[in-house]
């Protein structure tokens, strides 16, 4: 395996696994569309951070992202609970508005030869992430994209290992969790912040739409094939890794965008699982 391929794949897998771990709880809590909204709404945050630092500087990006991600959930809540607009509409108008602002900022303030263009917003540029290597002394220590997502991945891992009980009880039965005195609001806040930080850190590589695929598809597949939460988390990571590897080689083979084909592979695996399960059900009856 070539070094560049290895670096690209490593980035893709780290992003996919981070998204899958968080996505499991989005799927279980039926708040996938809120995750979808967040991944679109962070665009103005990214655009502003990019303007301020005129490169994808991770510190600015992190702050911008966390702010806009949490802001999105707050606006959705405000529309839904205070202004009494139905929930689907609250989600729909909030993320389209923020996404529109992001596009306006990008087209107004960036010129044509910057890295942040409309294509990147939708698809990301996974296959060119290896160009930006970080070299310390004489040693190559990875790509910048990898080092942007890797710390987030570690935080997610720690959060899920230690917060497993809290997350599972809130996902299953939020009222009951409250009745035990568990600080539901606090755990939710951390969770949603992590979702927004993750989408921002993967943004450059996979774009705003395809990141939703990584959040949803592997967890949804795992949810179909297992009845145990721990297995669901592990399976969704394995599914994510498999789709990254298959997708990546396919992208080289037929020369198409890597991030898109990864989602297509992962979606095909989902449909395969769905059909097998339904055929099994029919045969049993």
């Amino acid at each position: 395996m070539e070094l560049n391929d290895f670096l690209t794949l490593l980035t893709a897998i780290t992003i996919a696994v981070s998204c899958s771990l968080l996505g499991c709880f989005l799927v279980l809590r039926k708040t996938v569309m809120v995750g979808d909204a967040i991944s679109h709404s962070v665009l103005p945050g990214i655009a502003i951070a990019y303007l301020l630092s005129s490169s994808f500087n991770s510190v600015f990006m992190l702050i911008g992202a966390a702010i806009f991600g949490v802001f999105t959930t707050l606006i959705i809540d405000f529309f839904h609970k205070k202004l009494k607009l139905q929930e689907d509409a609250s989600i729909g108008i909030t993320f389209t508005w923020l996404f529109a602002i992001g596009i306006i900022i990008i087209t107004l303030f960036t010129n044509s030869n910057t890295d942040l263009d409309q294509d990147c917003v939708l698809f990301g540029e996974l296959s060119s992430t290896f160009l930006d290597k970080i070299i310390v002394g004489e040693y190559l220590i990875g790509t910048r994209s990898f080092w942007m997502i890797f710390p987030v991945f570690l935080i997610i891992l720690v959060f899920i290992l230690f917060g497993y009980k809290g997350l599972s009880i809130i996902s299953f039965n939020e009222d009951y969790a409250k009745s035990l005195g568990i600080n539901v609001g606090f755990i939710n806040l951390i969770f949603m912040s992590l979702v927004s930080v993750t989408t921002v850190m993967s943004f450059e590589s996979v774009g705003a739409i395809l990141v939703v695929g990584l959040l949803v598809i592997p967890p949804a597949t795992a949810y179909l094939i297992t009845n145990k939460l721990k297995r669901m988390l592990i399976y969704s990571c394995l599914l994510a890794i498999t789709s990254c590897i298959i997708g990546f080689y396919l992208s080289i083979l037929i020369d198409v965008t890597a991030s898109s084909i990864i989602i297509v592979v992962s979606g095909a695996m989902f449909l395969f699982a769905f059909f097998i399960i339904n055929i099994k059900k029919m045969l049993n009856i």
Partner: protein, 424 residues
Amino acid sequence: MKETIIYFFTDSVAFKVLIGITIISATSGIVGTFSFLRKKTLVGDAIAHSLFPGICLGFIFSGTKDPFYLMSGALITGWLSVWLIDVLTAKSKLSSDTSIAFVSTFFFAIGSVLLSFISSSTNGNQSGLKDFLFGKAATMSNEDINVFVFLSLIILLIVILFFKYFQLISFNKEFAKSIGIKVNLIEFLLSTITVLTVAIGIQSVGVVLTSALLIAPAATARYWTNNLPKMLFYSALIGVLSGVLGVFISSTKENMPTGPWIVFILFFFTLMTLLFSSNRGWFSMVRKQRINRKKMAEENVLKVFYQLAELGIKNVTYSEFLNKRQMDTKELTNTIASLIKKGFINNDFQFFKLSEKGEVEAARIVRFHRLWELYLTKRLNFKEDHIHGTAETIEHLITPEIEKELLKELKFPKSDPHNKIIPY
């Protein structure tokens, strides 16, 4: 500004854009109203993403950018996405939002694979396809406009012909089923017009933002009226207004995107309506609460004057008042000032006294309070030490009609549970 307007009506290209946007926005507003009422607006978002592979397929099969082929492709994948969402939700344990998110990203990814496939196999003439991603409001051709007009007319015709059915299904699906309406067929029609609408919508604002054209006008119109035909009209109107404004704003500067500006203005309309709408808006609610607070304060002050008069104190000072009832001093002085202005209280040096008009008003409030206390103990079996709290509030909102009923039910009582006289 004037020049811009003149420009739009004299320049044929710009005028065309305006016509195109108007048709698209009006249609989206109308169709979106049904999606909104059925709480299925996010399906519109999934459809928008799912049209992308269809458009690419249309291009691959026909080799041209003829709107007819692209639209046919879009229609097929659009339908497929609606069907798949239904199947996934019905035949698996996945919730509908997971199914929607799955379908929208999966189809979109297929589309982007097809697009990069097209761009690597042909040279350059696929550029028009990308317009579907972000919309191409500024570069619509005559052919495009003809397609829009044609499709919009079909959509409008379907809406008019099936209006009664759409209304029924949006309002109460179970009931529609129970009276023998073929709900599946009507829902199929509704999804079809939604797919068609989204298909023309993505040309103005692009894949991601199209759902805003469906949601925002309907959500806004919902706050303006309760009547469905009116709601459809308002929704279309709001859509058109935002569309036209968006086109104007984006034309003021070169390279300014039209779609995002339309969405921005739509959001602005929705937010303003939700905040300022006269009956259901946030501020009207806050205002009502403030008026209530003022009314309560005034009535409470009058009541205390009455109670003091019962004890023989007719000329009241601030300190005497505050002995009888705790109240924020600033609120008290403000309230008394307002009562003087209304002629309920007369001011004589440091003494305050009820006017004749004020006496009548105060008696009315005390009567309500005591009637309610009596009602609570007699009818609702409240204990005597627990009635005062509710009566403190309810006295402010008893209407003459409710008073009549209370009097009838309690048979014009003379005194309240604490043996205080009820004034008439």
